[in-house]
Symmetry: D2
Subunit: 373 residues, 4 copies
């Protein structure tokens, strides 16, 4: 009989729902080390919490996250509340000895993220930040190929995360436009940075170029409010292994919905990927015969774990929510002690550190070293 | 408080699991008219059934589908047993007044499928056959665009379903090679036919070309066994509305994993689609300005219901299992009386009728009319 | 010093101009066995002929093709006049001992094409029909790969030639709508058939499905004129080597400008091609490692002769007119005796034979054997 | 009767041949203001020059470019000699009053390029540098769309020129590895810069990141020779109109043969282009109806001048050499006074200025302003 893992979820908005989908799907798709019990859902008001409880299948509802976090009948606290609250909630949960699963960004400031990571490690609880693009079997394949030397020595990298959800200049000012932690680089460039380090290893030095294009937005009250965050954030990168690269974050990329792309070149091969078609990885190898070389469109298949958990036939394709199930399953394996944490608070801190370094570099118009660790 | 729908599932293999995923996901993604209770799972032996019960979360296990089907505490019987058993199981369930959900093909022979459809209609129960590709929001968009006249008058159609799962001539003889209902046309051509009629309307006349390429396969006992089913099945089509078209089914299409494609041309527009990238629909319109025309890659988004149920942001992509959730949700709406059955036994019979007509036409080397209804 | 080849061209319209481009480019790109002399251009009137002479660089102009064809100072007669005149002109040129280059179709009726081929062979002159898509280095690569067994045993084929130049129902009746030789199958299906036989070998049996969609067109005088030719022509094919396939010709394919595509599957590999991107050939091989297989986009390069004649660097791409230069060079090599004729009148007859057999099959609604040779 | 333009060509290597193809094709495809006479070809030795004369159809051969440049029977001097000789040859030709057509780069150093541009303008002769990618009808379409406001206000740009012709570390040291003017940025980044300014307008400020990856190469004599030029050159850009962007030049991009790509986003539309498929331009417009938006693949057609000069039918595709013909035609129109010079020495200087500024910025690890003009 599997042990039970009792989940307390804070927040019932889009990401809260996505986490519940993730837990539910993970339980049926994977052979999890726990039976997941959706114990408590907490939201700002009892009415919201109760509605979410009924819709999402939790046992209890709460309008008091503090008492929920302290509840001895909760094993894991899952935080999908607004970013500004992540730190307080996580530290309270860690103090109560809970495992903590927190949506990205871990915290708007690296210093806060560091405090959270330090606390979790001191307490010995398992943590996770939701960087679900990394859970894609094709990204794992890409990393495995790079590590196995299928591309030879890695020489260069180009990463990208572009969407157009801020392209409408008439859309109102919102929390993402707050200089404390917002902007395209923090919001989606964080994904580009996570993928870059996932594939190539640590970044050592950066040169940033962060640009505000839409300088003010409607404040919803007939006036306008200044926007100081970056709409486009670019960076040159030097990796610790000597390779160079670049990333771009862009939330004004009209027409682009999910251009989380990369291209990496090695001395004997290359990979090209777009999240727009994330069940494919394109691979070029100089091992192929002359006259027969070309980028090869590898389609996700049971060869590429854990795709086979979802479907026994190749080419049927995973969806975005399936990536969330993989994320959950990896985290639960880590809690059970069977594997390292896939993307813990320390990793989340790392991304914030990179974002802040790029911002600082852009402001200073100068290269900046990334502190190790 | 929502009424409960108690499900009894027969079969715990790949499709059984996929159905459970579908029920679980549907319940969290959609606002279903029922609360689904996974009541009983039946399999060939008690050991298999009990293992599946524990893994998939059913309340009870059974090794006797007959008694499960007659159980007054079951509302819906879900059949994912081997094709040859579909008829007996479904008729028993219908006789007991249950709603019946049956994996495709409904039955190897159209005559059997007809008996099942007749029985279900006489009993007034709701039925469903699993043609999940039709549940794709982009296919629904395609149909809506055609119906709204966005392509003008429909002039031609080309459909396809090609995979390579039978391309290895050394793979052993299996139940799909049995002339009673097997072959590429029945197995996957059925999808191409379902999509053709979904988009363009009823087929009136067919000319078939069914080819056996690999004439015998290993019998698993050191010998070989003759294969008489089609490896490639082609048909010319005349639709009732006067348009002409063609389909091809091919399970020897080396390299193809999910080439369920179509292209349709009208007097003022065209659509092109591939299941290989099923979150996209390509649309050409002569309404665009000269010099600015081209096939437009529309990415699945909340604009295309029910995509928004899964994700509030465009371009994040649905997966194969999500299509199953849409299939379940549509069926439950029909059971609740809120919508017509999306693909009932009569529709399943229709596909078998088309398959048999194409086989007969190919054998006779002559065009064949499709009986109406 | 190279011998001179004196060309007499009949017709100065689009194809006449394209032939001149072809001769001019071939001379500079290839090391031709002749120095080409643009000796005489003949057109319907002296004014037209003289204008073309000046524009295209011929030495003399003529309004009398008969005397030009008989002129002892002409070595090669190049016919780009209307189809209905091909036979008379070609037979006269052959009778005068000239080599004859004739635009496709060789003649509207196979019987006429046969007379032309017979005459040329009896006279020992070299002939050529302009099927320039076959001159594409990527098509030659495809054939070489098939012949070398890189795909294993060939199991199936799907070919296509779709455009939309007749999609406007208000466009007036023209010579292509004349039942004597017109229609989509004759006009562009001929290309699909030529490619099919180029790659797979002779077709042995066909079943046709030719459809008239737009039954009448404006006659340019306020009335309308009936159209009896096929707008869409489909065929099932059986090749002499036992493989099966299909082709489709469609000139109502709204949005398609050059969908001359094919896909061929063998026991260990497959090829996919589209003329829309004709500098690419997509190749799938089961020789690739499991988990690393996929269609590989091979880009035209100096590896693929005669690409290197045009450009020493890969990926720079050939254009449509470059294919014409390759066509000319191959023909001149044949005239010099260094190679067989690439696509002579006998080959042109073959295509007409196939077209007529498909038309006849469609009319009779029955399969038809193709006469050998 | 058209006036004659007598061409003297220096150099008979790949680019010399390409220029001759360009002249020959331009003369037949366009209605040029001159009749081009291939008068003299000069090369290092008389043997080389004579061989080239015979092969390429020049009237005379020469091993003395100086006397050719001074020859009163020459109107236009076309320089395809090694880069290091461009300046001396061009100044001599300008001094003799000739029009000068020079392959790119105009000169390894901006100061030299400036002297050449100044001299040409003082002498009133017409000049041209060969930036043929800009001659693509689809790039001209892109610029026209941007200028017409079809994308709205321009907000960002990403450009690229990546190939893999230097990816083999065992390939020997060559002139492109010489710090005086070589490197990926100068060699192919120059194209990326030219396209960026062609589309968006002048660059005002740059931040460079130039990286040497392969530090030494075989010297062809058993030893090795240090390489100091950039293998990868990146730059952030600020355009004079306020938009920001980036470019990357990379000659180690394994698998890439012609990745001259760009993407540009405006407030109401976007364009995406790849030279890998240079007969296509992808256009997204927010003017399209919601639910029907997507990148639209516009194929080159007679709508997009001067495509129609080459082919009257859409989608047939231009090749690389056709772009050279367009380049020649534009230059000859300028010589005849009918149009401004498409890409004169001043424009060539501009590109060298940008390249030097990016190199300087990279070396100084600091942003650099671009001098106007």
């Amino acid at each position: 009989m599997k042990p039970v893992l009792r989940v307390g979820l804070i927040g019932s908005g889009f990401m809260g729902k996505a986490h519940v989908f993730g837990f539910a799907a993970a339980e049926r798709v994977f052979d999890l080390p726990f039976r997941v019990e959706l114990a408590v859902i907490a939201d700002a008001t009892m009415a919201q919490a109760e509605a979410a409880r009924a819709a999402l299948g939790f046992a209890r509802a709460s309008d008091d996250w503090r008492s929920m976090v302290a509840d001895p009948d909760i094993d894991l606290v899952d935080i999908t509340a607004p970013n500004a609250l992540h730190k307080e909630m996580a530290l309270a949960a860690i103090a109560a000895g809970k495992h903590v699963y927190c949506e990205k960004p871990l915290a708007p400031l690296a210093a806060d993220a560091r405090a959270m990571a330090d606390a979790a490690e001191a307490a010995g609880v398992k943590t996770q930040v939701g960087f679900n693009y990394l859970c894609n079997p094709m990204l794992r394949l890409a990393r495995a190929m790079i590590e196995a030397g299928e591309l030879g020595e890695i020489r260069g990298y180009r990463g990208l995360h572009a969407e157009d959800y801020m392209a409408d200049a008439d859309a109102p000012w919102g929390f993402r436009h707050d200089p404390a932690g917002g902007g395209a680089l923090a919001d989606i460039g964080s994904h580009a940075l996570a993928t870059a380090e996932f594939l190539i290893g640590p970044v050592a030095t950066v040169m940033g170029d962060c640009v505000t294009v839409i300088g003010s937005r409607p404040d919803g009250q007939g006036g306008s409010r200044a926007v100081a965050v970056d709409d486009i954030g670019r960076a040159f990168l030097r990796f610790a292994n000597g390779a160079s690269g670049s990333i771009e974050a862009n939330w004004l990329a009209t027409g682009r919905k999910m251009q989380h792309d990369f291209e990496v070149w090695g001395s004997k091969g290359a990979l090209s990927f777009s999240q727009e078609r994330f069940n494919e990885l394109h691979f070029y190898s100089t091992d192929d015969a002359p006259g027969r070389r070309g980028f090869r469109r590898i389609e996700a298949a049971p060869d590429h774990a854990p795709y086979g958990r979802f479907c026994v036939a190749p080419g049927h394709q995973l969806g975005f929510n399936d990536l969330k199930a993989i994320e959950v399953a990896g985290y639960l394996d880590a809690i059970a002690g069977g594997a390292p944490e896939p993307f813990n608070f320390r990793a989340g801190l790392r991304i914030q550190t990179l974002v802040e370094a790029i911002h600082a570099s852009s402001g200073a118009r100068a290269w900046r070293d990334i502190p190790a660790g």
